[in-house]
Symmetry: C2
Subunit: 132 residues, 2 copies
DNA sequence: ATGAACCTTCCAGCAACGGGAAGGTCAAGC
DNA sequence: GCTTGACCTTCCCGTTGCTGGAAGGTTCAT
């Protein structure tokens, strides 16, 4: 199957598939005489795996590790679990950080009358360092 | 004051200050005969403003708008409030998205025994498209 | 006068692709 | 057989927001 088909089947844009091949995240597929890439079901499974892992927020480097573990017969499930929990912790940090930002912005927005007059507590806050 | 002093006073790295000047986010400061940049209190105020807005998650382009509004005598507070609320909405989206990811990863992690055996439900989930 | 600690410019690169150019290929329809 | 249009190929540049480093100039204290 051509790259376009593989793209539909995996959910990744063709450009992204080529990119992943480029950086060695996925192995290069077979080629036809014409030079076209020719993907089989195994290739597509791999691509789907990567697409899901990326969709879950794993970085490309983490995907590399996950793929290695996936293909390693002697892998320990603990390694995978650890990677997953590290990612969860990062996500928790990010969420907390965003909630802090949200609170600050909300405070600024609530204090602003929002009318046509030029006095704006948001800009005052930004200018003078109002906290929380 | 030199760029290093301005960096300490504003909380931005010197590299970043030069970068902001480069992209025209902040005006170029005076120069000494030696070629060194020479920052005054107004310059530093501007830099602090930008530092805070960036810290609150405004993009550089949004900072440009905020700075323009800040320096515009005829600005409407409503414009600033609108920008702020748009940013809050974006943050809310991002938080919701991350919470979804977290839930999926947590589900996978909980179903994994985490031991040394190679059977790993996380990899199974990634491979076969388990949802939530 | 020499050394450390600044400063200057420019160049390169990070993640993770996306856009678009210039050209080759395939399948269908006439 | 020939055209047309959809696909494919490689290549290189642009994105966002910086950060690091190289090569060289300045300032200041010793």
């Amino acid at each position: 199957m051509n790259i376009g088909q593989a793209a539909k089947a995996s959910g990744l844009p063709a450009k992204t598939i080529r990119y992943y091949e480029d950086i060695g995240l996925v192995p290069p597929p077979a080629r036809r005489d014409s030079g076209f890439r020719d993907y089989g079901t195994r290739d597509v499974h791999l691509l789907r795996f990567v697409a899901r892992a990326r969709g879950l927020g794993f970085t490309v480097e983490e995907c590399r590790q996950l793929l290695a573990l996936w293909q390693d017969q002697d892998r320990a499930a603990g390694d995978v679990k650890r990677l997953t929990q590290e990612r969860i912790a990062l996500i928790d940090d990010k969420i907390a950080q965003l909630q802090g930002l949200r609170a600050s912005l909300d405070h600024l927005a609530r204090s602003c009358h929002g009318g046509n007059r030029p006095d704006c507590p948001i800009l005052e806050g930004l200018a003078h360092g109002e906290k929380s």
